[in-house]
Amino acid sequence: MPARAPSALTIHELHPLLISGQLSPAELLEDLLARIAGHNGAYGAYIDVAADQLREQLRRQLASGRRGRLFGIPITVKDNLCVAGEQTTCASKILAGFRAPYDATVIERLRQEGAVIVPRANMDEFAFGSSTENSAYGATRNPWDRQRVPGGSSGGSAAAVAADLAIGALGSDTGGSIRQPASFCNVVGLKPTYGRVSRYGLIAFASSLDQIGPLTKDVRDAAHLLSVIAGHDPMDSTSAPVEVPDYVAQLEAPVNGLRVGLPRLPEEGIEPDVRRCVEAAVQVLQRLGAAVERIELPFIDHSIETYYIVATAEASSNLARYAGVHYGLREPAEDRSSLIEMYLRTRTAGFGAEAKRRILLGTYVLSHGYYDAYYLKAMQVRTLIKRSFEQAFSRCDIVVMPTSPTAAFRLGERLTDPLQMYLSDIYTISANLAGVPAISIPCGFSSSQLPVGLQLLAAPFREELLLRLAYAYEQATEWHRRRPALEQA
């Protein structure tokens, strides 16, 4: 047995142990389950964990004889990825009890490689939020400080990985929902290029922005998981028929001479600690041989406005289906009332405050008379933002910026001020609008000992560049090795 508990290890540390038989998948699972049993109550990283179901799943995996790249490794997935026969609710009351009759494509791919799927990592309802407070099943707490949020919306996945309640996890990122919680929890979070990973089976928030990606303990694990989930899927029309490189094999390629661009950014609200950490990280990149230069990203300061129009419009449409007819919640349960009354009561009772706010906003911007002023305009500015990135990536290989303007904030601090909450996505949103890949990696701690994340962005389908530079940085630093001291509930 290794010196550290199995649940504290990374995928790449575990894989050889499991393949060689030095550690059994059952031991690993039991260790993880014990740790979850001990700490999930205090942190709420999972909505619930069905231990017996996981044991049964492992039995079936082992019986199948698969010995793939994730042989015997539990992979935690956000509650918006459909897992056949398991509850998938998007942390919403309106989907309470919904059991998808099919596996998402990423789930299928994880299973093919021998993974054990651990469902139901907590999240903001329908991924609407940056704090994982908007969950119908209670907020997730930050493992570094229980009084603070883990970020969101993939806060459950990030907190689980940070607290060793997960080996590795999948989240989804529509405007920063993988990267920002990764940054708040001191883990690695990668949002792939739009179209790189199939969205089939990901419960949609904003279809033109959503991507599934890994949250892991280090960069090598991110490369590992991305290699498994990336690639063309005929079930997703927006899945790109682009070949998937071997991300793991390319990790150690030299970074010497990589051109790194530092954009001028809106600095409103950026914490001095974040600025200090990011500046220090840029110096590390330079020491590693990267050529750093200042660049312009025009129109990026309009990302928030553009995003909140596009994302809410698409969300209002995607969430229209939750209406009490085909699955999920119905209020009242009997057929006594009129149809319209059933719709109104189901949707009023089923959606939380933030979901209602975004549905209203999206319905408003799409409605007759407002479309051109809001939605069409936003789609045009999106073109300009996309072009900004195209120009930037014609001059440099990687763009560097903070992941979030602040470290983890306190629970409840921004709940009453939705606009303030939206503004915290300022640095992550543009990658989704432009469809480019971006990664957040640990790059230091604030004066109050909260993690800070560094964000790297690359041109579409250049994840291997992101991973390579992130890996080089990680090798040169120790931030990612720090683990929080957990409290008992």
Binding site: N80, L81, C82, T88, C90, L95, F98, A100, P101, Y102, A104, R199, Y200, G201, L202, I203, A204, A206, S207, S208, P234, M235, D236, S237, T238, A313, E314, S316, S317, A320, R321, A323, V325, H326, Y327, D335, R336, L339, I340, Y343, T363, L366, S367, H368, Y371, Y375
Partner: protein, 479 residues
């Protein structure tokens, strides 16, 4: 005040693809409830649409046959409204970039051709089916139809009479049948039609207030509803009352339109580009390839029937109108039958039978050689006219070759002189008065005697021979 009637039609036609528009579920009609659904067409969370290439190709085919411009760039949009038969509560349709636009259908009229312009043709997904049972507080939902490919064909308001509308629908249906893209069965709902109608005083430029009429289950209903609605609106206008812009439903029992319960809100469909489907570019070369493969269309076929088979314009029109009839006609002619008798059989007994039984020609499955055999049997004297009609009916009812029927059933005509003589003798014995009348020069009496002889022989006697025998026998008697 004389008013001009302005009519536009919206036709929805289901494409007869193997699978639905955006998923691999079968698109068959009549399957057990909720047995042809999957995460995609059920709109389950996380499922995504992928376009059926056959539906697109057939959509282009229809667009070309309607002489439309096929869009070089086409996209899908979401149209939002809440309804239990629409699982996503939006329909994937096409808004500002339809598949094809600016076409026309030409209606052959007395002397002149009327051109009805087609505004647009677009692809969209069908909704499920709601079943209502009277007395029950609930409606039932069957999702089998959800996602079946629909082509919506929208005409410009170029129709001026209910007869025009009827003719347009007949012509459009024929076109779709020749293109072989739909079963065009109104009873099964694979062809559906909504109409809008407005009136304006003769000479006025601006259009009047438009009323939409739905729930039209047959072409006849379209015609009746338009006639009713023109009358209703005309009466209102002549009383100086206003026409309300609304949707009305045709009631096939009371033969009138009723106002749909006024909607609580004006429709606001909140269209926006479907983010789960990418745009489609349609290359000119691909369009040309589909154009080259277009089959002969009704107008061309009508012309050919007139030129090649010397059929009248009317005969050509009637035969071509229903593809199955035209195929039967051509099959028989190809096998060597003369065009005119074939046309007569089809347009006569055949269509009368279809109308009486309210059947679609496809359902009869008559083989062209049967028609050929029937005509040969008549020409060769094996069947009398009366017998031929019987055989014809038996052929339709039992789906058997007439030659076979004749072989098996003693349907052969009696031409044997001795038997005929015996029958004639019996008839004259029984009707001496008529024999006398004929002898006195009453021609009608002979007709009666022949009729009686035919009856006695169950229609099998050769009527020419029998007439001669009766004439001779009456003459002999007198002498």
């Amino acid at each position: 005040m004389t008013c001009e009637i302005i009519i536009g039609l919206e036709v929805h036609v289901q494409l007869r693809t193997n699978t639905k528009l955006f998923c691999g579920c079968a698109a068959r009609f009549g399957a057990p409830p909720n047995s042809q659904t999957c995460p995609v067409c059920l709109g389950l969370p996380g499922a995504l649409p992928v376009l059926n290439e056959q539906a697109l190709a057939w959509g282009i085919r229809v667009g070309l046959a309607l002489d439309c411009t096929v869009a070089p760039l086409m996209k899908f949009d979401r149209k939002h409204y809440f309804y239990p038969d629409l699982p996503k509560n939006f329909q994937i349709s096409q808004y500002d970039r339809p598949l094809a636009s600016n076409g026309h259908v030409d209606l052959e009229g007395e002397g002149a051709t009327k051109r009805i312009r087609i505004r647009r043709v677009h692809l969209e997904e069908d909704a499920g089916k709601l079943l209502h049972e009277t007395g029950q507080p609930v409606s039932f939902v069957d999702m089998n139809r959800t996602g079946v490919p629909l082509l919506e064909i929208v005409s410009e308001p170029d129709l001026r009479t209910s007869e025009d509308a009827y003719q347009y629908l007949v012509e459009l249906k024929a076109l779709l049948q020749y293109l072989d893209v739909s079963t065009c069965n109104m009873e099964e709902g694979s062809l559906r039609c909504d109409t809008n109608i407005s009136l304006r005083p003769a000479g006025q430029e601006t259009l009047g207030v438009k009323v939409e009429v739905k729930n039209l289950n047959s072409f006849r209903a379209v015609k009746q509803a338009l006639e009713f609605e023109a009358g209703r609106q005309g009466a209102l206008l002549s009383r100086g009352e206003r026409i309300l812009q609304e949707t009305r439903l045709w009631n096939a029992h009371s033969l009138q339109t009723d106002s749909m319960r006024s909607k609580e809100e004006a429709a606001d469909y909140r269209y926006f580009p479907e983010p789960d489907l990418v745009p489609f570019t349609i290359e000119a070369a691909a369009v040309e390839q589909i154009r080259r493969k277009l089959p002969e269309l009704p107008a061309q076929r009508r012309l050919r029937y007139q030129q090649t088979y010397q059929l009248s314009a009317y005969d050509a029109q009637v035969l071509v109108q229903q593809r199955a009839l035209a195929e039967l006609f051509e099959g028989a002619v190809r096998l060597g039958a003369k065009p005119k008798p074939v046309a007569n059989w089809i347009m006569g007994g055949f269509m009368a039978y279809l109308n009486a039984k309210r059947l679609e020609p496809e359902s009869l499955q008559v083989q062209p050689e049967w028609v050929v055999h029937l005509i040969e049997l008549v020409d060769g004297g094996t069947l009398s006219g009366t017998m031929a009609k019987e055989v014809f009916l038996a052929m339709l009812e039992r789906r058997v070759d007439p030659a076979e029927l004749v072989r098996e059933g003693g349907l052969r005509q009696i031409s044997d002189a001795q038997t005929l003589e015996r029958i004639a003798h019996e008839v004259l014995e029984q009707h001496p008065k008529s024999a006398e009348d004929y002898a006195k020069g009453k021609a009608n009496a002979l007709m009666f005697l022949v009729g009686q002889a035919m009856k006695r022989s169950s229609g099998k006697a050769n009527p020419q021979q029998m007439t001669e025998i009766l004439k001779r026998k009456v003459g002999e008697k007198r002498a």
